[in-house]
């Protein structure tokens, strides 16, 4: 029994239940949020250490032997994702102490946050494909409720698109699981991977794999299925936006990585070529959409789409180097994107608006805040020595080695355009003078408070520090990504770890 493998799911679930029990006392819920996410971070580092030491950790729930029970599996990729989840969870919990409006806290903000973290952790650790669906739904229900907390008009409109598209994607996922079960008669992912090559009609397997690709593509916001994301991600309050931006789409990307390296590798030429072009167009449309926007959080939302393209590119090229790049990119992106949303929340508190034309002069007021914005922004654009440079470098190097010169050209161009829109934010929000039509800067929104609370800055500084560490001490992180990619390229290791002696 590996306790560290079960705790990342149990801690948030327990914390969520306890928060519900202390429904009336917001103070206890706040304390619980920080303690539970802090514990989660500790456990996830423990999980990472023992996963690296042992290669794979497997827990058979209820002590049934592997193909019959639901298994929890942690390989290096899963452990990396859990560590990132807990870092983001802790950052958001601290940030929420200062930023969440009291009305939201009274209506179950903290229980929902814990539930979301439990769903995300469960999705990263499960080794059973139907169980993956269940964890997706846990995560989605929590995210639906978080998205609509507050009930403003924009939130309602965004939520209808978000809910509809995600339910549609879940239905496709469920149908695909059903079809797969009909073909191979098992739900354990390792067992499926072993049996899928013996299916009489390999064309049907490819069809099912495309159903999975569409379903996870919707959740990951890949072209042409991404339009729910820029319609909804900027509508909730900023801590929720940051949590979603960091984690939710990455669960879709993780599911694609898992399924398309472990199970559906029998027709790589067909499936991964489709993914390659989807990834390329995702990068391009995302960044062009961002260039057309003049609202802080909408620009950032469109950039999520564009960065998802790089991660998918890593998977689509399907070489060891490309997978290393993809995993590295996921690590870098989760931290950087959350941080950018958190910074946008601080400027909102300062100036009372997200519209670029109403913002200005932050550099004059808060030079250190401008620096804190620059670190993740330049990292996102891929300026060395920050984390994004190495991530982009490895992915583009892999695409050059695979002789996809056109695609590497697009990837480089997208990097430039990312820099353009980050400079646009920099020039409008931080550099230019306060616009003349904004007469009373600090009271534009009525309820604007000066963000002096330490809870605003601790997570932002912490995440910026993580970005710097990934950039400056890249070697150990790269080795970690290399181990993860190595395990992904050899699904036989995963199958043997889960099924033990029963695999052939």
């Amino acid at each position: 029994m590996n306790l560290e493998l079960v705790l990342p799911i149990l801690i948030p679930l327990t914390a969520g239940a306890l928060s519900l029990a202390f429904w009336r006392s917001v103070r206890v819920q706040r304390l619980l949020a920080v303690i539970a996410t802090g514990l989660l971070l500790g456990v996830s580092i423990w999980l990472m250490r023992s996963t690296i030491a042992q290669g794979f950790l497997v827990v058979e729930v209820g002590s049934w032997p592997a193909p019959f029970s639901i298994v929890l599996v942690s390989d290096v990729l899963g452990a990396i994702m859990i560590v990132l989840t807990s870092i983001i969870g802790l950052a958001i919990a601290i940030y929420s102490l200062a930023s969440t409006p009291p009305g939201h806290e009274k209506f179950g903000y903290y229980p929902l946050m814990h539930l979301l973290l439990a769903g995300v952790s469960g999705a990263f650790l499960t080794g059973d494909i139907f169980n993956l669906f269940v964890w997706f739904e846990v995560m989605l229900l929590a995210s639906f409720a978080l998205l609509t907390l507050g009930g403003e008009r924009a939130q309602m409109e965004g939520a209808i698109k978000y809910v509809t598209l995600n339910l549609f994607s879940s239905a496709i996922f469920l149908s695909a699981v059903g079809l797969l079960y009909g073909m191979v008669g098992t739900l354990n992912m390792a067992d499926i991977a072993q049996k899928v090559s013996q299916v009489e009609d390999p064309g049907m397997v490819t069809v099912v794999s495309l159903l999975f690709m569409v379903s996870f593509g919707i959740k990951a916001a890949a072209f042409p299925l991404f339009f729910w994301l820029p319609a909804s991600y900027h509508t909730p309050q900023v801590a929720v936006s940051a949590l979603f931006a960091g984690l939710l789409t990455k669960v879709g990307v993780y599911a694609l990585y898992r399924v398309f390296t472990l199970i559906f590798t029998q027709d790589v030429g067909y499936t991964h070529t489709i993914m390659l072009w989807a990834a390329t167009i995702t990068m391009l449309t995302g960044v062009l959409g961002a260039a057309a926007q003049f609202e802080f959080r909408r620009i950032l939302s469109f950039h999520i789409v564009s960065q998802i393209g790089y991660m998918l590119l890593g998977l689509a090229l399907f070489t060891p180097l490309a997978l290393i790049g993809g995993v590295f990119y996921i690590m870098h992106h989760i931290i950087v994107k959350t941080n950018l949303f958190l910074v946008s929340g601080i400027t909102y508190r300062l100036l009372g608006s997200y519209e670029l034309k109403n913002l200005g002069g932050v550099y004059r007021q808060r030079p250190y805040l401008a620096l804190l914005f620059l670190i993740p922004a330049l990292s996102l654009a891929g300026i060395p020595p920050l984390s994004g440079f190495f991530a982009k470098f490895v992915v583009i190097r892999a695409s050059l080695e695979a002789s996809e010169y056109f695609i590497s050209g697009i990837a480089l161009l997208v990097g430039l355009l990312t820099l353009y829109s980050m400079i646009k934010i920099w020039a409008e929000v931080f550099w230019k003078k306060v616009p003349e039509h904004v007469t009373d800067v600090s009271r534009l929104n009525g309820e604007v408070k000066d963000p002096r609370s330490w809870a605003f800055y601790v997570p932002v500084v912490g995440l910026a520090f993580c970005t710097l560490i990934i950039g400056l001490y890249g070697q150990p992180i790269y080795v970690l990504a290399e181990t993860a990619a190595d395990q992904l390229m050899n699904p036989q290791l995963y199958i043997e770890a889960v099924l033990g002696g029963q695999s052939k």
Binding site: F144, R153, I160, G178
Partner: protein, 115 residues
């Protein structure tokens, strides 16, 4: 039987997508309800419509005598129904709130958050 069910499932999927493409949010939710039922029915049919006894094994034996029904798809569908039910309950509350806040049930008027 399987062929007939395949057509029924196809019809359900087509109907649900048609409903989801309508402009009214009430019809959108009806489309989602039909969609989840279509997916459940698909799981049930695709894993084989075997007519058999419940998979109960007599005491002291390792295998059941005669044909048994596969319990797993039924367990899957049961889980999926519960999940779909909770999600749809949320969706119904959402459209009610959305109707109150936006003041219309026409999806074409809900374009504020688009680009």
């Amino acid at each position: 039987m399987e062929t007939l069910m395949a057509y029924v499932i196809g019809l359900l999927f087509a109907a649900s997508i048609y409903m989801m493409l309508r402009r009214s949010i009430v019809k959108l939710v009806i489309g989602l309800i039909i969609l989840s039922n279509a997916a459940n029915l698909l799981i049930f049919v695709v894993s084989g419509l075997t007519r058999g006894a419940p998979p109960l094994i007599p005491e002291g034996t390792a295998e059941a005598a005669g044909a048994v029904a596969d319990p797993l798809p039924q367990a899957l569908i049961l889980t999926a129904i519960v999940i779909a039910f909770s999600v749809l309950a949320f969706a119904v509350v959402l459209i009610r709130r959305a109707y109150e806040v936006v003041g219309t049930d026409d999806l074409a008027q809900m374009k504020d958050t688009d680009t």
